[in-house]
């Protein structure tokens, strides 16, 4: 794998995760507008949208961040190792 392939692969990963992120955030105001009552269904006593925006979105952000960081760092390490072996 070359540095250029690697950069493309990273961009693809970033774009995929960004799409998940953007949809899960920007869908909420739209859903609030279109199906307001459904969004207020009580879950654990809280209106669903409070639980989702107040807590679950944060958990999603953490998951996205950890997946991205682990994969990117692993790929970069692999590329660096490969360069080292190739150089000898």
């Amino acid at each position: 794998m070359t540095a250029k392939d690697m950069q493309r692969r990273q961009l693809r990963l970033s774009l995929t995760l960004a799409a998940v992120f953007l949809v899960s955030v920007f869908a909420i105001p739209l859903l609030n507008y279109l199906v307001p009552e459904a969004m207020l269904t009580p879950v654990l006593g809280l209106p669903f949208v409070w639980l989702y925006v107040g807590v679950l979105l944060h958990v999603e952000f953490w998951t996205i961040a950890i997946v991205y960081t682990m994969l990117s760092n692993r790929w970069e390490q692999a590329l660096a190792d490969q360069a080292e072996i190739g150089g000898e």
């Binding site: 961009l11 609030n32 006593g45 409070w50 107040g54 944060h58 960081t69």
Partner: protein
């Protein structure tokens, strides 16, 4: 509200910060120490410092108050502020660190080889950070007065003076250590009193009184609030529903500003340059998301307790602003004096850390980006450090003066504006500049200026009463992206081959991994320490082309 214990707690944080900041000045010897803490800040320390830099008193006290007054719409603030770090991580953090300079204007200059673009970078850094710091300084006065009873103006001068002192002596090295400690004070102050509240009023109570019919708070004290103010208070069942404060378009626009703006704030991005390498920059961001997330998960709970315990009494203060004392009011009747003092300490820590970070960003725009890179690049490191210290003092005094002059301004709105401008200028510049090979200098300039101008026009028009729309991001951010793409496409083919080769080399510098940072060169006078103002890529391009207007 003010109490002896709160005064003692606030002063203790102030004195401890000053002492640590001054002590660390012994470790601030080189330019790199001053601007990027020698690039040797570990993941945990840096993540704490970034979170602390980011979380101002507006977040610490203001978001809880916003939830108290407006209900669900306030929860968006809490989560939107954290969400910005996701895009920052996915697209900006590690390439920017790999590029390896000090500031955003350095990026402008290094990526596109243009002094003109560096100047624009300086302009927008100063605009964004000024809006932010003025809001903070106004908040300083209000907070000090209500927490400790120190008269408004003296609070601004006292706190401002302490911050100038330790930032001027300690630079980024001092700011890093103090910000880290301040973050943990803040987090403890946020969580500990809340645990006491939870032990006194169960989750079930909270649900019933804040969310259920039993809590059907109606807006009382009608005489105290104007009709416009009453409209911002969510009464009864309305509190749990969205669209109290903004309609659908306003909500979307606010989200765009928060999600994109964080990734364009100069004082936040400056902290990413302090990471030892790109991998650690990523892990720092992960931890920032966790720290900031925990912080913002607690704010709506505070807001709900305020609604349960305080009803709608005193929910707004002067100017229709949600009462920033909500957390102190809630704790004072319930958890006792120590909790009020702890909240006071947390609020002071939040203010100090943010203002210190902003002072670094502002003074670097002058001392590093203007004096050290345009006016007198040949100056010695000694001279540059002296100018940096003078710039900290100069901007600090200006910030105190502005704080005194702008008393009564709506600070939450000003901070929101800083986010909108950052989202419309640096966010498009950085994301496309990092990921699009064929972006040109003219495209960058067009996008930054168009985005920033639209944001400014929307706001000025709103202030002049031409329209009521005050969330520019939904228009200005896409406009900036579009301008960059269109102008770059039109101009790329007209660049000379030299310029194209240099653009390509600068692009590669963002993406090719550097060797792991074991021991970056340290010590004054070492040439390897300072990033060249322009990467080597641009050295072979004839000077006139690098100048203000690239025309082959």
């Amino acid at each position: 509200m003010s109490s002896q214990l709160a005064l003692v707690a606030a002063l203790a944080v102030l004195i401890a910060t000053a002492a640590i900041g001054l002590y660390s000045s012994r470790r601030t010897k080189t330019l790199s120490d001053f601007w990027v803490a020698g690039r040797m800040v570990g993941v945990f320390t840096n993540a704490s410092a970034i979170a602390s830099n980011y979380l101002s008193a507006a977040s610490f006290l203001g978001v809880a108050a916003f939830v108290w007054a407006s209900g669900f719409d306030g929860v968006w603030y809490a989560t939107g502020f954290a969400a910005g770090y996701v895009l920052l991580l996915l697209f900006i953090a590690s390439p920017l660190r790999r590029f390896g300079q000090y500031t955003i204007p350095d990026f402008c200059h290094g990526r596109f080889g243009s002094i003109r673009l560096r100047r624009m970078g300086i302009l927008w850094t100063v605009v964004i950070s000024s809006l932010y710091i003025v809001a903070q300084m106004v908040g300083v006065g209000t907070l000090m007065e209500s927490l400790t009873g120190i008269p408004w103006a003296w609070g601004v001068i006292l706190l401002g003076g302490v911050i100038i002192l330790y930032v001027a002596f300690g630079g980024m090295t001092g700011v890093t250590i103090t910000q880290m400690l301040q973050f943990w004070i803040m987090l403890v102050a946020m969580i500990l009193p809340l645990l006491v509240l939870l032990s006194q009023h169960s989750y079930g109570d909270l649900l019933m009184h804040a969310f259920g019919d039993a809590g059907g708070v109606t807006v009382s004290g009608g005489a105290a609030y104007s009709p416009a103010e009453q409209a911002t208070i969510a009464s009864g069942d309305q509190w749990i529903r969205p669209f109290n404060r903004w309609d659908l378009v306003g909500s979307l626009s606010l989200l765009v500003a928060l999600v994109c703006g964080t990734a364009g704030l100069p004082h936040i991005l400056a902290r990413f340059y302090t990471n030892p390498d790109a991998r650690k920059a990523r892990w720092s961001t992960v931890w920032v998301l966790v720290f900031v997330g925990i912080f913002y998960i607690t704010t709506p709970i505070w807001g709900a307790y305020a609604r349960m315990i305080l009803g709608s009494e005193a929910v707004l203060v002067e100017g229709g602003v949600p009462n920033p004392n909500s957390m102190m009011l809630v704790t004072s009747g319930q958890a006792g004096e120590w909790a009020v003092a702890l909240v006071a300490a947390g609020a002071i820590a939040a203010l100090l850390s943010t203002v210190a970070g902003l002072l670094i960003a502002l003074s670097s725009a002058f001392a590093h980006d203007f004096y050290g890179s345009i006016l007198r690049p040949e100056a010695s490191d000694r001279q540059k450090i002296l100018v940096a210290k003078a710039a900290v003092i100069g901007f600090g005094v200006l910030a105190i003066a502005a704080g005194l002059g702008f008393r009564g301004v709506n600070i939450a709105w000003m901070v929101g504006l800083a986010f909108a401008v950052a989202a419309s200028t640096f966010f498009p510049l950085l994301t496309l500049g990092i990921w699009w090979r064929r972006m040109t200098e003219a495209g960058a300039a067009a996008g930054v200026m168009l985005g920033g101008t639209i944001a400014a026009v929307v706001v000025v028009g709103k202030l002049a009463g031409l329209w009521t729309f005050d969330q520019p991001a939904l228009i200005s951010v896409p406009s900036a992206f579009l301008a960059i793409v269109v102008v770059s496409r039109l101009t790329y083919e007209r660049q000379s081959l030299d310029v194209r080769a240099a653009l390509e080399a600068a692009f590669l510098a963002l993406h090719v991994s550097e060797p792991p940072a074991t021991a970056p060169p340290r010590g004054a006078g070492e040439p390897g320490l300072l990033p060249a103002p322009v990467p080597v890529a641009w050295a072979s391009v004839p000077a006139p082309i690098r100048g203000s207007r690239p025309r082959p």
